[in-house]
Symmetry: C2
Subunit: 364 residues, 2 copies
């Protein structure tokens, strides 16, 4: 599949289907896991595929120099889906390797781009999204949270940046330029630079590739004011999407039957896995002879991206399935068991994390 697009829309459906093309056309650096110590599961497996100014962060880690990692929570809905976990995996990686870690609640963006009242976004974030991010493995003692709407430093940085950006640049980056989206995007510049408000500091923003326009806008802004030396150019790291179980590019709550939600009843999740697109052959005989087409198999992709930590275990499943010795039914069974364990673990950790929220310190 080679479908390229000129503009990636971080608010809409995404058409990116050829990640090599994306790397080339957007001038990204290819990600090399060997450049980072103890790369995480998705780094080792090519799910993380690109970045910008990665070397600066690799050196911070190597030399134990301070840097930051930042991501945002969009509380526009009441659940998240499995794909969201990839951002947390990367954030966690940098947190464990010394990054000062920031998570912002994009309550202003939820209002401006999606029409969710700020108060409602706040409520959802406190009740669910923040506990969910903690449940996915972040250390709450090492993570600074804030709400966009309460962080006047972010607001000031955003408004200052807005004066340097033209409507034409915005349209080039985003395709459309509705006021609510401009407000959101410019506020993200404020977010991305917030950890540098006091003094310059290298920082990395882990995102899905659909968020590239925000990175580009921020980097272009920093290039345009670089004489000021107020900020270090920001680094970014991109992961592929967790595909929809029906084989389309990106898991999405708009297709619930092909989307694993968090939280979700394991029985429901297993039913979805049962119906997932696989790379198995039409008949069992043919499957045994030719083996599965792994690269079209959404169940193997689930195992690779999310459910199997151990590389040897994954390789074993890969080899068995690709050779035809393992059937689609069997790999689905494995996925169902591992998914059940994962979802139960998530539920338990979500409960624990909820009790932490009242003690969190929010920065501003």
């Amino acid at each position: 599949m080679v479908v390229m697009i000129e503009v990636i829309d971080p608010w809409g459906s995404c058409l990116v289907e050829d990640y090599a093309c994306v790397v080339r056309d957007f001038g990204l650096e290819q990600f090399r896991a060997s450049a980072f110590p103890k790369p995480n599961r998705i780094m080792r497996r090519g799910v993380v595929f690109a970045g910008r100014d990665l070397q600066r962060i690799a050196e911070c880690i190597k030399n134990k120099k301070p840097f930051y990692a930042l991501t945002g929570i969009m509380p526009s809905s009441e659940k998240i889906h499995l794909g969201t976990r990839l951002v947390v995996d990367n954030l966690k990686y940098f947190q464990e390797h010394g990054a000062k870690t920031f998570i912002l609640v994009a309550d202003l963006e939820a209002a401006a781009a999606r029409g969710v009242p700020v108060a409602e976004a706040r409520k959802r974030a406190l009740e669910f999204h923040i506990p969910a991010y903690l449940a996915l493995g972040l250390d709450y003692r090492k993570t600074a949270f804030y709400f966009q709407s309460e962080n006047t430093t972010v607001i000031k940085l955003a408004f200052e940046a807005s004066q340097k950006i033209t409507l034409a640049e915005f349209k080039a980056a985003y395709g459309s330029a509705e006021p609510g989206r401009i407000m959101s995007a410019v506020t993200q510049i404020g977010d991305i630079l917030y950890p540098q408000a006091e003094k310059p500091l290298p920082g990395i923003i882990p995102v899905g590739i659909d968020q590239e326009p925000h990175i580009r806008l921020t980097r272009d802004y920093l290039n345009s004011i670089k004489s000021s030396k107020r900020f270090v150019q920001v680094s970014s790291i991109y992961h592929k999407f967790t595909p929809s179980l029906d084989g389309s590019l990106k898991m999405s709550k708009s297709k619930p039957e092909s989307c694993i939600e968090l939280p979700e009843d394991p029985k429901v999740a297993c039913k979805k896995i049962q119906r997932a697109l696989t790379g198995a052959r039409d008949t069992l005989e043919e499957h045994k002879r030719l083996g599965a087409i792994i690269e079209k198999d959404m169940v193997f992709e689930l195992l690779k991206q999310h459910l199997v930590e151990d590389d040897n275990e994954l390789k074993e499943i890969h080899d068995e399935y690709k050779s035809g010795r393992m059937s689609a039914g069997e790999i689905k069974q494995i996925a169902c068991e591992k998914m059940t364990a994962f979802l139960k673990d998530f539920d338990a950790k979500l409960e624990d994390s909820r009790s932490l929220v009242k003690d969190l310190q929010f920065v501003s």
Copy 2:
């Protein structure tokens, strides 16, 4: 002069030259001084010429019901000019007639639309603009001040509003739609509605006619969400510009020789008045025979808009000058004397007001 424009640009030079046309084309209400108790100097003299939903405010005054009046300070430069005083005159009028009074420092707008760093805008406002507004007659004990950048309620209202406004609507209201200007304009919606954040309250925004797009954007937004009944539609009141001393439409610091600045050395001001465009005839003989063309006379306009409080005194000068009994030299002498007294008084009050600033309570 009949020059009409489709779009009034609140950030640029303004081409409005026919106020009757403006009233008609923008669907404004004509201002009737008789509808308000004890109308102020500029209300009585047709300098205040239009409004929107004025009746609602007149009734609040009449029935002693609560309402608010709000204006903004734009600290993009280090001085103001005499024309700015008209806004303060109207704000003062409503303050004296029971309005809860708000003055915001548009530090975010200064950053987004004019490239003034937020910290610099804050400094200028504290050192000069706030004391200057107080020196022009507002009661600091009855005025709530705030900085946009510190008022998270304003920010929330602004971002919520941004989602309801399209780029097309913005362009229709403003002509251009650069990101910094969108951010500024939407933030003004937050400002205008801020006094209603807790509960609906009638309010009036006194502005020069060049600020009409902000009023229109806010009113359109309120119309679009009116089912929510969260806000009372806002009222507005418009004054004409103080013209440039060379006869062009609007006094502006970009033409310093035709602009009375505040503060200003009275001698410098008098020199400017000496060179002002008048309606005097070419020769003294002709002047005595035909009298001055009052409506082209910038010196009489200064007296009318700013320097003579008493209507009888103004009428006397008018009649003398129009009949030709008073020469241009004589009216300039009167203006110079009155301007000198005004500027000295302003200086003294500015000093007094500066000592109040440290005790002001800022709301947010």
